[in-house]
Amino acid sequence: MEFEMERFISALFDRSPPHAVEHLQLVLIPLTTAFIIAFPTAVLLTRRRFIKYTDRVMTFFNMGQTIPPLAVIAIFFPFLGLGRTPALFALTIYALLPIARNTLAGLKGVPQDVKEAARGMGMSEWEMLFKVEIPLSMPVVMAGVKISVVLTSGTAALGALVGGGGMGAVIFAGIDFFRAELIIAGTLIIGVIAIVLDRLLTVIDNILTPPHMKT
């Protein structure tokens, strides 16, 4: 395989940008959806009434991550067909577990004495959740979101295989036509997307992290 600088630059700046936008959507939409599903679910699973379902639900989330996204698409092919929708769906399922797992871990990690005192002061369960438990578990929750972001950024490249678009389209074109420039440009941009999103989340994380936990 040969490498031409001119082609590389063209691949990077002419061919990639529209795919990069698609790729960003393939990351952000599943991530947001996964958060909206996984976070409240995990919070519920730490409530006394629902604690007995924790294992079952977590097994489901675990499965979501062990089954490769391509297999998920294959399983749901009869219902969802090909294209963007199944890609988004598969990526969402893939992103659930780290968020759910870290939310559980974060909530369980809230010091027992703080909860005991909060309850003893007369905080209701809701007040405890929103004023004590969620704020104190934020750093761990955000760590989970970051794992999901990095994971989804990479996996989203597979979306192109089912016509879902994204940077995968550039990479697979490179593989098909034996063009190193395309492969490298595609990979590079995925990397940049992952890093930029991670930094962005770090900023949010910093805002949400309680002052005493900041390093």
Partner: protein, 325 residues
Amino acid sequence: MIKLDKVDKVFPGTTVPAVDQVSFQVDEGNICVFVGPSGCGKTTILRMINRLVEPTGGDIYIKGQKVSDKGVNPDYLRREIGYVIQQIGLMPHRTIEQNVALVPRLLKWPEDKIKPRVKHLLEMVGLEPDEVAQKYPHQLSGGMMQRVGVARALAADPPIMLMDEPFGAVDPIVRGRLQDEFLRLQKEMKKTICFVTHDINEAIKMGDHIVIMNKGRLVQHGTPMEILSNPADEFVKDLIGSDREIKLLELTRSEEIVEHTDEIPEVVNKKDCFIQAIDPVQRALETMMKKDSDLVGVRDGESFIGTISWEDIKKHINRISGDQA
């Protein structure tokens, strides 16, 4: 003020009751200390009073009102009861000010009432409001955190306080100081207090009334003097220790044996030989030796209330050993 009537607690999955048929009563304005080895059920009793634990049998009354009544919301009940625990449990993500203001905010006090209240409370527990109010708990020492814990429990001026080894997490010197300061505060506040400790010395020092627990049962209750001079059984004797007579001197407050007079004897004044009413009798002895006097003056705060003589102390010791015989 607080009444327990044959209260039982069997925790799920166990057969041995953690609290077994316990009945007693705490009078208004008194400190009642629960003392006993770990696992004796003292903390469980405390947690049943504010319904952090629900009893499996018996009834608990506060001011004649049954706490387990359907109309009583446990969250609202707890807002009316100060609660201090050994681990303190300050909200690590909130400033000291926000921590102390927790219950007033839950009770939806107007903000302009909360600020001065927090300032007053911090001063009351011996902290400098300007210095600590905006700090976070991890920036304070253990002793300071304990003080904040007490201030937080007092914030909404609850008539009742539950304190679970409130001074347990600090070193003995700081503990002694916190105990003294708290007793001084209590003189003005006159709260009804349930206080849990495993330390019999602390129990005797803090308690108007002591409840001794063992294996979920109430073994003996009475004033510190009653318990020291007349232990109910071997368990109580062991708990008190072999230095019972000395302890009595160490732990009898001077005010209990003071001879009340209004006139300050000249010898006391000349040698500047004074102690405080809540000081132990042992302090009276020390002062006598240091100042080479056989009479000490006793003050309650600034005001003179009477004297203790060497004879008074001897009589006191004799009375105790007489009880013993």
